[in-house]
Amino acid sequence: MSDLQTIDVSLGPQHPSTHGVFRMNVTLDGETITRLQPVFGYLHRNHEKIAEGNSWLAAMPYTDRLDYICPLTNNWAYALAVEKLAGIEVAERAEFLRVITAELTRLQNHVAFLGFILGDMGAWGTALMYAFREREKILDLFESLTGARMMCNYMRFGGCRCDLPPGWLDATRKLVDGFPAFLDEMEALLNGNEILLARLQGVAPLSAARAINGGLSGPVLRASGVDYDIRKADGYGIYSRFKFRVPRGVVGDCFDRFMLRVLEARESVEILKQAIAGIPDGPVVNPKAKQRGLRPPAGEAYGRIEGPKGELGFYLISDGGDKPFRFRIRPPSLINLTLLEELCLGTKLADVMVILGSIDIVLGEVDR
């Protein structure tokens, strides 16, 4: 095979399936990938440095814009890190609100994922529209609670910004009760489909050992059969009080990664049911917690949560001032993306988009 046989193709950054502005320089031998070089940074917005120049509270709305599909989990991760740093207790009701909003976020992320990956396979339309129809209902709930569909800016140090509007909990209960029916419908639409199976099964399998060595986290790691969920491992917030299972894949191919999201969504529904049933009355924010003019004692803290895409962590260093001295984010999307070339080598060009889709990245978080 001489070099004359290979061809370099630049996929993206405007390719419709690249999940944002992401470019891959691909070397092809025929249709087979022999080299893949990701190029990113098109969406870099200097989030970490901006946060270091602003007050502790002012970094909160910026976290919405990291993984803009799931703003509430980002809020939670940052709030958790600051609470750890400053030693702030969280109000009991707020813990429940955080679990409810975070699990709704997980639901809508995984539902959107189902639509996107079908789009990556070329089935633009049907599945995506059904997925977005359900996602829209969750976003409506977010809007009536936080004021914005996606840029929620809802969590605060020691709690949440505002209490539930009247009727919100009932609307959520109705949505949660109806959700398994939607997942059933989605599974009936997709799971038996021979084309879908042919496109997903056996594509880019990832061994558990390699997934761990690659530092992966979240659904991608669990699809490879590793039992690691930070909700279980850390039990942050009040997750240790809820009963739920952690689904795992077997071979770690694209189909496992796809199915894992469906199973996880079902577990999220279970958590939501328990949280909605158990929510207590009380203040939504710790009255002793300071929002404006917060000056955490000098020190460092790492707060991490199980985001819908993986381990989302904030590493903060305080020098006792009113601004973070160092503000570092561990973005699950970026670290899950590091194994992309390895997964893609030897596969066909058309599979690249499916593999990228099965990792489930958001470029806002990769580039920050």
Binding site: M60, E143, A148
Partner: protein, 199 residues
Amino acid sequence: MNFPGSGIIKGLAVTARNMAGSYIEKDRLTTEQYPEERPTLPENSRSFPFLVFDGEDPESGMRCTSCKICEKECPPQCIYIVQDRDAAGKALKRPKVFDIDIAVCMSCQICVEVCPFESIRMDQVYELSSYDRFGALVLDKPKLLKSNAYYHGIHPTEAAETDARLEADRKKKEAAAAAKAAKVAAEKVVKAAQPEAQP
């Protein structure tokens, strides 16, 4: 029932059910025919900040005292305030210039949270596109000032709470002022009673 293609047929059945269902069930027909149909926004919905004034006259009813806390706390720093001064150069408790660049504003609501005078609040307008890239998106004071009645129209619950809080504050202040006046009067009486106490 597991012949090749049965999965696709099952999937098509779901599609058919959804298509037929969209004529009957409201849940499946979710498209809104904007701009003919407009969404009813939830009360909490927010777009960009505005300034509340009490009464009829925007200038005299302005709640803003130009304390500049919002300017300082605004994460993307889109607020610009210049304090007003009288002819002698004494600072007045009102802004001369209050600009918000909504091209920069990210609708985070932090200005609303930090405002101690309940002056800045979130609007719900969303049709703000313009052909003018620079001027039209910088809202100055006359454009920002909106009446308390308007605020009640868009956020009724929140506005009622705010009014109750302001009323309580006013009463507290009045009570404090009355107590102070009474104390001063009482001291005067005491002083008047013993004028020869001074050596």
